[in-house]
Symmetry: C2
Subunit: 339 residues, 2 copies
């Protein structure tokens, strides 16, 4: 009942009374093989429960129909959305996603990338521009097509689909400045090895400086991604550097945490404090008041990266760099500076 090996193509060929070559062509749907023969081979395949052996096929074709993604953990909803969209896009085209996660550790990211290349992926999707020094040389040697997501390459040499986090962040702060705010606090995401978090922080500073406002060091805290961390960060700011009327969150979970902390403390938002986020996660729109934030099209980034990679694998050319829209979404958590 269990003893016999999985049937191989030669078994199919024998059972169908054709040669190995013909069986292979029949399965590939080649026009060269007579329709009746093709049908018979297919029949035998079903009968025997034959499944092609991917490794053998990959060895012969030098293609694995597999794409690798080296992502930060998918329990960040923005990466979850992108992963889902990417996987969907790939499976539509008969490709499968090989996923490797790392926790913002460049060494681990490098190792994961190497592992994916060894597994024979036909292409790669990476996040951001901040990587281990050896990553790009590894990619170069492998000659695999890859797409950088979320960020844009200032040098213009890598294929990427992303946005300027700096400019988007400037738009957020501009909005708050327009509402009359002058006293700001920032809850930034962790900027080490995360160019998106860093660019957002840089953009915020820049927007303020351009209006002659200096962001005090005590008014900036950096925190790992998460609602709980956002709560803690706001508490910390309130305790150590009070007096601000606007809080800029480096991402939505941090901003939402700040918002929930305000609610728990009875601080009126936006009456006494305005809060803005970044990403536009689903939850942002569901809260009351809704969170003002930047809409980052995570799912679109994932699917575009997939489409671009598939196009390149099919020999088509794509624009080297693709900028995604990242509009400011004004909801209820930002309002005029209190009198």
């Amino acid at each position: 009942m269990t003893g016999r090996q999985n049937p191989k193509l030669s078994d199919v060929a024998r059972a169908a009374g054709v040669s190995l070559a013909t069986a292979s062509r029949a399965l590939a749907g080649s026009e060269l093989v007579r329709p009746e023969t093709r049908a018979r081979v297919r029949e035998i395949v079903d009968m025997l429960g034959y499944l092609p052996h991917g490794a053998a096929r990959a060895l012969a074709t030098r293609r694995s129909r597999t794409v690798g993604a080296v992502f930060p953990p998918v329990d960040n909803p923005i990466f979850a959305k992108a992963t889902r969209a990417l996987a969907h896009e790939l499976s539509q085209a008969g490709y499968t996603l090989l996923l490797a996660s790392h926790d913002y550790d460049p060494q681990a990211e490098l190792a994961a990338t190497r592992a994916l290349i060894e597994r024979g992926v036909d292409g790669l999707v990476l996040v951001g521009m901040n990587h281990h020094a050896d990553l790009f040389s590894l990619l170069g040697r492998s000659a695999l097509p890859y797409e950088i997501t979320w960020s844009l390459d200032p040098g213009g040499s890598h294929h990427c689909v992303g946005l300027s986090h700096r400019l988007a962040s400037i738009r957020v702060v501009q909005h708050l400045l327009d509402l009359g705010h002058r006293e700001f606090a920032v809850i930034a995401g962790e900027t080490a090895y995360n160019d998106r978090a860093l660019d957002r922080l840089v953009g915020a500073r820049e927007a303020l400086v351009s209006r002659g406002i200096e962001l005090a060091a005590a008014r900036v805290v950096e925190a790992p991604f998460g609602i709980a961390q956002g709560k803690a960060a706001l508490s910390h700011l309130l305790a150590t550097a009070p007096g601000f009327t606007a809080v800029v969150g480096g991402n939505d979970p941090l901003a939402i945490g700040a918002l929930l902390e305000c609610r728990a403390r009875g601080i009126d938002v936006p009456g006494r404090l305005s809060i803005a986020g970044f990403d536009d996660v689903d939850l942002a729109a569901e809260l009351t008041p809704g969170l003002t934030t930047v809409r980052v099209p995570s799912a679109e980034i994932g699917s575009r990266a997939g489409q671009r990679l598939l196009a390149r694998l099919a020999g088509k050319r794509v624009r080297r760099s693709e900028e995604m829209p990242a509009p400011l979404v004004v909801r209820g958590t930002t309002g005029p500076v209190p009198a």
Copy 2:
């Protein structure tokens, strides 16, 4: 600069002045090869930037060091957590995760599973017991080890790591009954092809019936996963079948949606309405009041499934079925029935 092919092991061997076999053994860290030789081979590997060809290796060893997961979309945070934990567990052991998602479509799930098997995964992780009729026979033929997650197999024939959603659901309802509630509404997850959602609904009904309470059809709505859907569902219930004092959500996003809808409408929770969820997503604990829910250890499920699979791949034996704890977590959204 770009022309030459990636070096293969035979190139390494030649450069190191050893045979292919020795080079292979050296890389495998075999004790058979002299340490100096091993070192020299390693040196050449670095120098040439040699990367093993996984397909060739898989073909020869009949092992891919790859594990497949066929999961519902990872933008459901519980699957995101499990995916992260699973990927982490696997990578610790030098394995990589092949991820295939499907949107609760048994046909798509079957196709995805087949694709993973063809890609040569060494093992599989599946979710739940509700699958396409051909899935288990496919798995049987492939003879691959697999783990069912989240659910337990009543038949006891599949390896699984999960919990009884029925019993956990009974605990939730029991808790509400103990608080004096008699008028219930249920916002269930979609039960088609989702045994977890169905079992939770069944359990709720059962707990009520055991106290002589019938759950009116109008008091049960089924909704796709999501906060927005939870809001809509509560609105619908309020409009069509008012008078209930307790709402049982099939999962946390639905329950949280209901909670937010109440807040938006000025309905006091738990003063006028008690709400309970299922899963204990991060957000559940962060809201004020916190959501009463069942703590489902999603991350642990993912890592245990990985550990079990790795153990089995290493030839060890594991208990066929592993039940995870799923305690009720009482927070602030449930309280005594209003007088």
